[in-house]
């Protein structure tokens, strides 16, 4: 009964899986990021946490690219929102929720590669660096990375609140659809 691809009314299994894995990765990376910068030099995780953060981040890039491809290949279920301003803000938020993770990954990449060192992904793969673009790139990219991270988390929080509002107040299928249990 589960379909791989989306229909006009429901999300397919692939889209649902991508959505929740990305959500987990985004909040996980945010938490890990906040945690690791507070670690001190003699914490066992001082080095490992950063390596893990970079590895998950770069792996997420592949999933984000696939998410875009999958979105283009699939129809989108028709929005449950009927009011114009809601439709407009939904489009804007969804656009940013797609864009911001890419910007975050790019800024993170630019921090660690500012010295032209590659980034190791789980010790299996080495992603090469580009030549540095600007002076003090690690500082500027770092500031951008932190700011965008907070921005993305706030947006994702709003996105979650809106889903809960649809579920509990409007009592429509918005959240159920993303949980794979559309009742229509």
């Amino acid at each position: 009964m589960y379909k791989l691809k989306n229909t006009n009314k429901s999300f397919g299994v692939i889209a649902i899986a991508i959505h929740w894995i990305v959500a987990l990765a985004v909040f996980g990376l945010f938490g890990l990021g906040l945690y690791m910068v507070e670690l001190t030099y003699y914490d066992t995780w001082y080095k490992g946490s950063l390596d893990l953060h970079k590895s998950i981040g770069l792996t997420l890039l592949l999933l984000l690219i696939f998410r875009l491809v999958w979105r283009v290949l699939n129809v989108q279920p028709i929005s449950e929102s009927t009011v114009n301003w809601q439709k407009l803000s939904v489009s804007a938020v969804h656009f940013l929720l797609h864009l911001l993770p890419f910007a975050l990954l790019l800024s993170g990449y630019l921090i660690s590669t500012a010295d032209e060192r590659p980034i190791e992904v789980f010790g299996l793969l080495s992603v090469p660096a580009l030549p540095p673009l600007i002076d003090n790139q690690e500082d500027i990219a770092g500031l951008v990375h932190e700011t965008l991270a907070w921005g993305l988390i706030v947006l994702a929080g709003l996105h979650a609140l809106a889903a809960l509002k649809h579920h509990f107040i409007d009592k429509d299928q918005t959240l159920n659809r993303m949980l794979g249990r559309n009742k229509n």
Partner: protein, 192 residues
């Protein structure tokens, strides 16, 4: 970045004009015949070295009256370079040098005492991380004379060990890493 450089330049212009004397030298940072390097023990197992890529300075020195010598050096803290971006970012952050707030480190000599032709003890005020401390360290004259391009140069080297906590930098790097050694290698070009 340009604003910082402008500030450094202005500070230098002011100190330079205050210091113009008989034999004045400008440290040859333009062609990089000068460097400020630091080293600190990593875990107590090895030396970690780095440098400040941008600094300016000038000194006055006359062989005939060496004890009248003076020196002032201003370092752009965000030019710190330990050849590792992640570490540089951390060293420039609020855990260490806080370079967005403390854009400059500065040394101004108060007394220079030569014990022979080449060796001297330099005393002065060093400002780092917003804290100014009196420091004293030995310097040695490496040499002086005409350069092949019509100028006159003199060079010195000096080393000083600083306790990081004295400058309000108290991030725990371990018991072997409480001090940083700074070494200054400078060549001055005589101003005409």
């Amino acid at each position: 970045m340009n604003k910082t450089l402008a500030t450094v330049a202005l500070a230098l212009a002011l100190t330079t004009s205050a210091m113009i004397n008989a034999a004045d030298y400008v440290i040859d940072t333009k062609d990089a015949h000068a460097s400020i390097q630091f080293k600190i023990k990593h875990l107590g197992y090895s030396w970690l070295t780095g440098r400040f890529n941008k600094f300016e300075g000038q000194f006055s020195y006359d062989e005939k009256a060496p004890n009248d010598a003076k020196i002032a050096v201003t370092i752009a803290t965000k030019s710190l370079d330990s050849n590792h971006a992640d570490r540089d970012k951390h060293l420039k952050s609020k855990d260490f040098l806080e370079v967005s707030k403390f854009k400059e480190a500065k040394f101004v000599s108060t007394k220079i005492q030569f014990s022979d032709d080449d060796n001297a003890q330099v005393e002065g005020d060093f400002t780092l991380h917003g804290v100014t401390k009196k420091i004293s360290f030995p310097v040695v004259k490496i040499g002086e004379g005409n350069d092949p391009w019509g100028g006159y140069r003199v060079g010195f080297s000096g080393n000083v060990s600083l306790k990081l906590a004295d400058y309000g930098i108290d991030y725990n790097l371990g018991p072997a890493s409480t001090h940083v050694d700074l070494s200054l290698h400078i060549e001055g070009i005589k101003q005409k």
